[in-house]
């Protein structure tokens, strides 16, 4: 057990980061190998000016307004899940540093920030996790079942796993935040620190699943994160 824990906390994190960055770079290179379409693929209506079209693509990206028009239920699921994910990623910045200026400005002490982070973290976790169950179970019926490939289930199970272990850390094992920051900073400063006492099995699982997600990210559908931005511009050119 200790060996596995050691590997997962001190070795594979580096492999995951390299795989993520290298994989994304490789995919971008692979896409760029092909020449762009020498035609306008625009869908209308579209804004007239170039800046307007860029703005429209960004608004569509952040609000999913196109999907909202045609499929409200899927929009609710997809939008809220991504919103929760965005909030969680922002919140995880506190794992390596802190929003000192924000707390100073709000005049919050240790206790207030702790309460805020507990409430907001749990809230964002639920925003992320509940839609994931909807997105998962809708794949078991009708046309979506026919369309679904093993990858679709795998990615959703992986994300649910990350969400559950994360919620467990927040609500059950109550991992302490400050010692965790010391440990994480040690990883990127190459000044390795021991795992905090409070980090239990849920942390190991959470950490390992996130690494798996990072390694898998460039090689599957998760690349829509990057590709959809490109394509929204192509379809407005």
């Amino acid at each position: 057990m200790d060996v596995i824990e050691y590997i997962l906390t001190y070795i594979t994190p580096y492999i995951a980061v390299i795989a993520l960055l290298g994989g994304v770079a490789y995919q971008a290179y692979r896409w760029r190998q092909k020449s762009p379409v020498a035609a306008h693929l625009s869908l209308y209506p579209r804004p007239e000016s170039r800046l307007g079209r860029l703005g429209d693509a960004l608004v569509d990206m952040f609000t999913m307004k196109g999907l909202f028009t045609v499929n409200k239920l899927l929009w609710v699921g997809g939008f809220i899940m991504h919103l929760g994910l965005l909030l969680l990623i922002l919140g995880h910045i506190r794992v390596v540093t802190d929003f000192y200026f924000l707390w100073d400005w709000l005049n919050w002490g240790e206790a207030e920030t702790h309460t805020f982070s507990a409430v907001a973290g749990t809230g964002a976790g639920l925003l992320f996790m509940i839609p994931l169950f909807y997105l998962f179970f809708r794949r078991f019926g009708g046309k979506i079942k026919i369309l679904s490939t093993p990858e679709d289930y795998f990615v959703l199970v992986l994300l649910v796993g990350i969400a559950i272990t994360g919620m467990h850390m927040r609500l059950v094992s109550e991992v302490e935040q400050h010692p965790m920051r010391v440990f994480m900073q040690g990883l990127y400063k190459f000044d390795w620190q021991p795992l905090p006492e409070s980090a239990g099995l849920s942390f190991i699982w959470h950490f390992a699943l996130v690494q798996l997600l990072m390694i898998y990210f460039p090689f599957g559908k998760l690349m829509h994160t990057i590709g959809s931005v490109f394509n929204k511009m192509v379809m407005r050119s």
Binding site: Q33, I146, N231
Partner: protein, 416 residues
Amino acid sequence: MLERFVETIRGRFSRPMQYYGDICVRCGACADACHFYAASKDPSHIPAERMMLVKQAIQGANDSGRSLVDWYREVQGNDAAMAAKLEKALWDCTGCRRCAVYCPFDLDTGLLVGAGRYAMLQEEIGPEMIAEIGDAEVSKGEIIDFIKDFYVEQTMELEARLKEEFHPDIRVPVENKGAEALYVPLVGEAAIIPAAKIFHAAGVEWSLSLYTATNHSYFVGDGAKAKAAANWIVQEALDLGVKAIVYPECGHASRTLFNYFEGWFGDEIAGLERVNIVPLTYEYLKEGRIKVRPDVFDTALTYHDSCSLGRSSGMYEEPRELIHAVATNYREMTPNRALNWCCGGGGGLIAAAEDKFEMRMQGGLPKVQQIRTTGAEWVITACENCKTQLEDLNEHFELGVEIKGVIDLIADALIV
């Protein structure tokens, strides 16, 4: 199987096609967009499945479909069943791009289908008729001197008839050097007559092209031939020194004019305006160059947005403005504009004749429903392909409507 398909489509992948298969999340939103899926519930018609099938065929070229990786990617090996699914996915599609509007990432299945069709023809799968018509359009320019005299003779007959029926000064000029506009018609006189009347009423010096606007090579994803066919028209326009190329009520051809010509011809056509007859007629009306008897039609009528003209070229308001100028009882279809249902006959399927008739009728079901709901007696549209399909639907489902072009309405209401 499918070796030539895989080799060809791999070579013809553009950048978007390269990432489509990577980033599609199979959310299934596109399924609700497709008229073929709505009517048949055949999973090969779900746009995302069309994409997946192409991806799986490419991977299946090397893999048997028996390993764990193949299971994960749903690669089944390229057998006859796969070829049949692919045929359906790539040919039973009108390239209307309604699914691209539904897609949260705007992925354009139509683009992939174009390349896929070309690759399928290398396997001799699919209606070769469409490609053959495309070839005829390409070679027409080489034999134009032999057929010109006959063509001119026909236009003179038409002109004589119009002088009698419409106005003694109306002209149908061919190879009119220094004309303002080169009007490119379709096969037959139906697309020429209303345009001739409108040009006459507007007092525009025009010239009737020796060619037709239709471009069937475009339907089968053959960019080189599509360009070669369009090149005859561009050269004619440059020879005559016209200011503008005017395309008729034809969806796919207008889409090439607006969205492909720049990539094909670049600087060569820099000084040439490229317009469709419908917005041009609206411009004439706005500027007062033509006058119509207002509100002459009180028949209940509706407008069908052609996919190529609407979604792909942004021509939504001009035809509606023209209809409003002459008709009083207008009814909008629901949904309309960007979300309008395809007529079910686009993408060159009309040219495939009997092969695709049954499928066209099935794919037209959402459209039939839409027309019935409006209660309109006339269905107005600005695309020849849509018109032919709507005529067929009208007969097949006994809709009891009349199909008319936008400029037909205007030509019938002209004050000269």
